[in-house]
Every structure is written in structure tokens, then in C-alpha cells.
Assembly symmetry: C2
Homo-oligomer: 282 residues x 2
Amino acid sequence: MERKRIAIIGVGLIGGSLAIQLHEKKISSRLIGVESNKKHAQKALELELVDEIMSLDDAINNSDVIVLAIPVDKMVALLPEVLNKIDQQIIIDLGSAKAQLITALKDHPKRKRYVATHPMWGTEYSGPQAAVKGAFENKAVIICNADESDADALEWTKAMYRKIGMHLLEMDAADHDLHAAYVSHISHITSFALANTVLEKEKEDQAIFELASAGFESTVRLAKSNPAMWAPIFLQNRENVLDVLNEHIAQLLRFKESIEKKDEKNLQKLIEEANKIKKIIK
Amino acid sequence: MERKRIAIIGVGLIGGSLAIQLHEKKISSRLIGVESNKKHAQKALELELVDEIMSLDDAINNSDVIVLAIPVDKMVALLPEVLNKIDQQIIIDLGSAKAQLITALKDHPKRKRYVATHPMWGTEYSGPQAAVKGAFENKAVIICNADESDADALEWTKAMYRKIGMHLLEMDAADHDLHAAYVSHISHITSFALANTVLEKEKEDQAIFELASAGFESTVRLAKSNPAMWAPIFLQNRENVLDVLNEHIAQLLRFKESIEKKDEKNLQKLIEEANKIKKIIK
């Protein structure tokens, strides 16, 4: 594929990790960073994630492709502005919630230059120092409302993700947001709430944390995730997240009831049901 | 330390992994397995986890140390029976709930030959084929009500765990059960309930599982755990588990309320609170 000048708006965990891949897979001819946090901008240069840092306007004028990797509330504010300023560049976003954004852009005259994507990869860390080599590989990327994008923009975007080693899926924004609530957003809420449960109850007793086993670490790992990224996701995907959260609380209440009633048979049954996740997660 | 003839009752994930360590660290002179599941017994021999399989009575008569690694409901039934049959052997249990067991044994004439321990290690897999090399190392082991055990039994048990590479902690059974509810039992319930949430809602849509990211896998991993092991733990540690589960549901309801009210400020605050888990989990 033709190498292009690529600007990345937001050089944090996601943007920085993508930058490494664009460079290593020889997808970019030049990498421009746009970063409002000065310390992050400096760090991104130090780590050589991007070749240079520019203002938004300069970056738009000096690139063929513009990738937005910023929190979803900032995305809804900035993406229309970027579309206002471009000529024929390709615009790609990497956000974790899609319906509100795509609806907001529906009638924009430059809508077809934009490709809505969500690569299903992340870690609980944030900032340019959290960027890692080999990110995204062998993971799924969802492309939303593909038929609303120009063919050339769509094809280049797909080629980019394939070259990084991602598995492509297409769906509409509403389906994406529902599915993301199940396989990503709810996991973060349970992990945040579990951390708060333990922190709240164990204020008086530091000794407990010596006991934390690998199981606890695994379920609470996501609780380290960035508030500036996650609070806006939960609010933009509010209805789906509430729906899944209500179901999750209902499932917890089933465990509670079985334990209260000392109903071992039903408790075993609930756990056996849960074991069916083995079919899905190897 | 003096090598001893050691019998392991229950050669599954925990008993099998301990057997590997006892052999590798030259703690055992002979390893005897007692296993009611014939397939597991056969597998344990095939995998050379133990030198031989014996009946319970033969194992008791041919060993210096007897380690019980069976579900906590079976433990409460079998441990008094083992104590009835021993002479001066050391008896060690590895169960995840302690108060009920220790209370039941309080007045047993052989109580002092028994050392109550809980090594804080496990995986979501079960059976002898799940046994792994290097288990338990660098993890904590809790010894409960140490002053109720004979000095020689206690010292040998501590030496065994130190030689395996574990970090020793002592506490009474009630404190153990409270802490285990926080750092282990609740993680399993949230993970089981999360699996059931997703499985329930996604019956009609297999495609979603292509999207499962590392974050989802991490929070749902424990949902693969063995019902025969976990249902009895939740019931034996019922009051603590219910207490922590109620707190966890209350924390989830805070998230729900903030999302319902679109209260981004409070949502950020809840996540920032959860981030404090970074102090504890590196």
C-alpha cells in the first residue's frame, strides 16, 4: 500500500501504540503528532512515537490521513471541526462509542471522508509512556457504517488495519455500541466497583493487600484505567451500559439469594452456567 | 529440613501443584496420593505427580505428614475422621475457608497435630492435569490459629512453605475468612456473574465473542473455576461473602446512579477512587 503522511491527534496509549505500528509496518511516510498536553507532547517526541509535533491546523495541512485517538467526549467536539478544515484527507477515529458521534456527523458535507473504527485493544495504562510495540495485532477492529464512507478512504483504512495484523468486522454504530457495552464497558465498571468495594472496606487494614492473589489482580486490573477516557464512554453509551449493568446486578442478586438461602444446588448451577464461558474464552 | 513421607488427599489443581513442589524442593522422601476420583488418580500417576495411590487408611499408616487439598465441604467431613485415625503425624489443610473447620475441630483430642493453612494461589482450572510447576512461589500463605497446633507440627509446616518460596502470615480463622472474602471470594462471584450476564444477553449473537478483548478475558477468567470447589466456599464463608457482596452491589449502584443522572463529575470521582488500587496492585 502507498505510504502516507499521517497525523495522529492524541498521542497517548492508543494513538502512541498505533504510531509505533504505522512506523514499523511502513504504512506512514511521516508521522505528525497533535497533543494538547505539553508533557505528553514532549514525551511522545522523546520516545520517538512521532517525527514532530504540530498544531492542529498545520497537521491537517501537512497530512494525507488524520487519525483521532482522543476521549469520546473530545471526539464529538473536535471531529466536526476537523472535517470543516480538510480538503480530501482521510479521517479515522478510534473511539470506543460510536452512535452519538456518527449521528452528529450524519449531514456533514465531508462525512464521506471519515471512517469510523474501533480497534478492540487497550491496556489499563494511559499516556504516551504506555504505548507499546505489537499492539492491536491479532485483535478485531470494527468498522461502523462503512457505506457512509468514500470507497478510497474505506479501502485505505482497511488495508492499514490488515497490515497491522487486525481482523476486520463491519457493523452499524448501534450494534457496535451494544456489543462494546457487553465485551468491554461492563468489564470496566465491574472492575472499578470491585476496587472501590475492597478499598472502602479495608481502609483500616493494610495487611490484606499482602494476600491479593493472581485472581484478584486479574479481576481488578482494569480499575487502573483512565477516568478521562472512561467516564465519557459510559455516558455516550449510556442506554446500553445501563441495560447491561442492570442485568449484571440481577445476576449478582441471584448469587446473593442462593448464598442467603444456603441453596447449594442452585449456586452450583449458577457456576456451571458461568463455566460455559469456556466455549468463548480459551 | 528432614525429608518426610507425605500423603496428599485430593490430587487436583492444588494438591497436584503442591506435590510437584514437594518433590522438586526435596521436601518429600515419598509422595502418596489419595484420590476418590479414579480418572484423577490414574492421571496423577501418569503425570508422576505422586509415587503411588493408596486408600486413605493405608496412606495414613505410611506417611509422616498428611496434606488435605479437597473442597471445603469435604474437608469438614473428612478432617475429623483423619484426626481420629492418626498417631503423631502432622495434618495440614489447604482450604479457602477456615472458621467453620477450626471451630468443628476445637475439642478434638488430636487438634494439636493439625495446622490450618491457606496458600494464596490457584488458577481457574481443575484436576491433576491442571497442576503446574512453580506454583505458590512468591505468594502469601496464611496460617490460622497457630497457637492451637503443636510446636513441631507448626515449625515443620512453616519450613515447608518457606522452602517452596512462600511468604508466611499468621492470623485467626475469623480474620482469615473476612480477608479471603475480599481478596478472593468476591472476585470469583463478580467473574461468574459477569460471565452469566454476557452469556444470557448474547444467546442470539455469537459474533460478539470475536470482539472479546484482553480486558474482558481478564475480568471473566475466573468464571471458568470449578463449581465443586467454589459453591462450598461461598456457603462456608457465607456471612463475610454476603457482607462484601452487598457492598459490591452498592458500589455498582453508585455507578448506575451517576450514569443515569449523567453526572460526569461524580462518575470521574468514582473512577479516580478506583484508581487508588494502583497503590496495591502494581
